[in-house]
Amino acid sequence: MRLNLTVLAVSAALLAAPAAFAQSQADLENDVSTPGDVLTYGMGYDLTRHSALTQINKDTVKRLVPAWSYSLADSRGQETFPLIHNGVMYATTHNATVAVDALTGTQKWKTAVEYPAETPRVACCGIVNRGGAIKDGKFIRTTLDAHIVALDMATGAELWKTKSIDFKTGYSFTVAPLIVGNVAIVGISGGEYGIRGYIEAYDIETGAQVWRTYTIPAPGEPGSETWQDGGDAWKHGGAPGWLTGSYDPELDLVFWGTGNAASWNAGVRPGDNLYTSTILALDPKSGEIKWHFQTSPNDPFDHDSTNELILTELNGEKVLMQASRNGFLYVLNRETGELVTANKFVDQVNWATGVDKETGRPLVTDVYTKAVAGEEVTYWPSALGGKNWSPSSYDAKRQLMFVNTLNFGLNYKAVEPKYRPGVFYFGAEFSWAWPEEEPRGYLRAIDPMTGEFKWQDGVEIPRLGAVMSTDGGLVFTGTQTGEFEAFDSDTGEKLWEYQTGSGIVGQPITWEADGKQYVTIANGGGAVYALFAGDERLANTPAGGNLITFKLLD
């Protein structure tokens, strides 16, 4: 009965929407093989960010020039993933949604996002938005004050707006939704504010909540036995879901990572603390957890497991891969959640010597045990991780993952946490531990089965934006000092760069129209590193975001 109603609702929506906007579930699933549009976050449900386009390649990239630039009129960091449908590009900032002509950069509409002036208080790591999701003529996005909004793709008019929760107690949204079937799935932010995390789904027609799965079980629920403090630690235990998951239509499973446990002081919340720092497989229809794999049990280090879960096949096995904050690159069988392999992908990991291949648990060192016991330690990788949010790309033909890695640690001491609604809930004192001689980050071409890199490109101020690769043998990414760059996929040689005028922390895409290949990136410095790291070398890189599209000079 329920199923029939859903079918009716979908059919009605298809009839109501103009034909030009009638993307179907099949369109979303085939996004990778239709380079004329970009319909899904991460360039496909598998989040590979890899394109088969070859017109811009190792030989031609030297002729890559800007085609147009569009001002986002905003000085915050820009992390948006632009979408393209029917020749229109859609992008988000924290305070607006825009639609522009993809070929000319001319604005078609701009719709403001209004939120209370107090909202930025609860954004730990930058006033950002990572993009939207589209289906059936609707553009769906989240807002910093914890709402989900649907806009008419043709006009920008608001169709519905649903409040998820009161932002004032530390909850916010920066995530790009994942649409599967008739629902938009989102994960809440707030791991540093003592939230109780969740992932939830909204009906894209009505905006009604369809399900919510708390990432921390209540007492008595499965997993609650991993909270052994005997008190209320679970209520403020963290486990946000602030980065978009991937989807396997064949298994009908959504894969979503959760963030750190709160506060960071692990000593006061003994037990593994499920489902913090965990990779989850969810049923998109019910939100039921089908399997889980925890990367950092009883985590004291802010080592979220939110990083992108890339889907591919390795040695004939359906796997997912995550270059995790904690310094290990995990490969899991995505049907069962069993560990295939996990290897260090950055040079310095001192809190664990490796991952037990049988149990999947980290083999911790005394740095971990001392940190939990409240002693002063310096741990690597830092709270920002061996890799932060910046999504990687995966070139299946080369079996290489292209990853913006980080190379610094954190001086750290756990202290008694004090919970105060809407205020940082660290439970730790900390300061940065920078490397003395080496760069603070590298772009690396990594074999996911070994964690070893084929080539790397070091950079003094680490790259914090996404990576994209193509069958043209190119890897695109950008620097926080503004250079948009293209590297040779095989050698790591930098073949091209263009100074965009503001820092890049955004997500490149590539697409084609009338036989021509284009590349688009949003620039606009800011967000977690610029705000938090105290790197004064960025003082001469102006703020200010633009969408910039490139093409080959004729």
Binding site: P120, N411, K413, F424, E429, G503, G525, F532, A533, G534
Partner: protein, 129 residues
């Protein structure tokens, strides 16, 4: 006071480069101000008040003789700066001010030039106005 700063600097020089979380840079409110800054301000204005000043204000430039303007911005918000008046206590803002005008402990307390009107009085005046 000068002696105390010299002593602190000497101690800092003796310590290894690794963690150093001890504080009292020469004003009784400094330590509390440091805590308030970390919990309420650091995510936009930088750990230890160091930031590039591009997409958020560099507080090391805030004039020490303008506490009234500072309290107004903190409590009522200004531009991109959110308002904190509903959750910050006046005493916390007084401590925060000491931390800010001592530039996170890198400069001595600017006794001769600092505006030191109590936050409570400033708030009363602001609501009158």
């Amino acid at each position: 006071m000068l002696k105390r700063i010299t002593l602190t600097l000497t101690l800092m020089a003796l310590l290894p480069a690794a963690p150093s979380f001890a504080e009292d840079a020469g004003h009784p409110l400094f330590k509390d101000g440091k805590t308030v800054f970390k919990d309420f301000c650091s995510h936009c204005h930088g750990i230890d008040m160091v930031n590039p000043g591009t997409s958020s204000y560099d507080l090391r430039r805030w004039p020490v003789e303008n506490k009234t303007g500072f309290v107004s911005s903190v409590m009522k918000g200004k531009g991109d700066m959110p308002a904190w008046g509903d959750i910050l206590f006046p005493a916390e803002v007084d401590a925060l001010w000491v931390y800010v005008i001592m530039r996170a402990g890198k400069e001595p307390f600017p006794e001769a030039t600092a505006e030191m009107t109590l936050t409570e009085e400033i708030m009363a005046k602001l609501s009158d106005g």
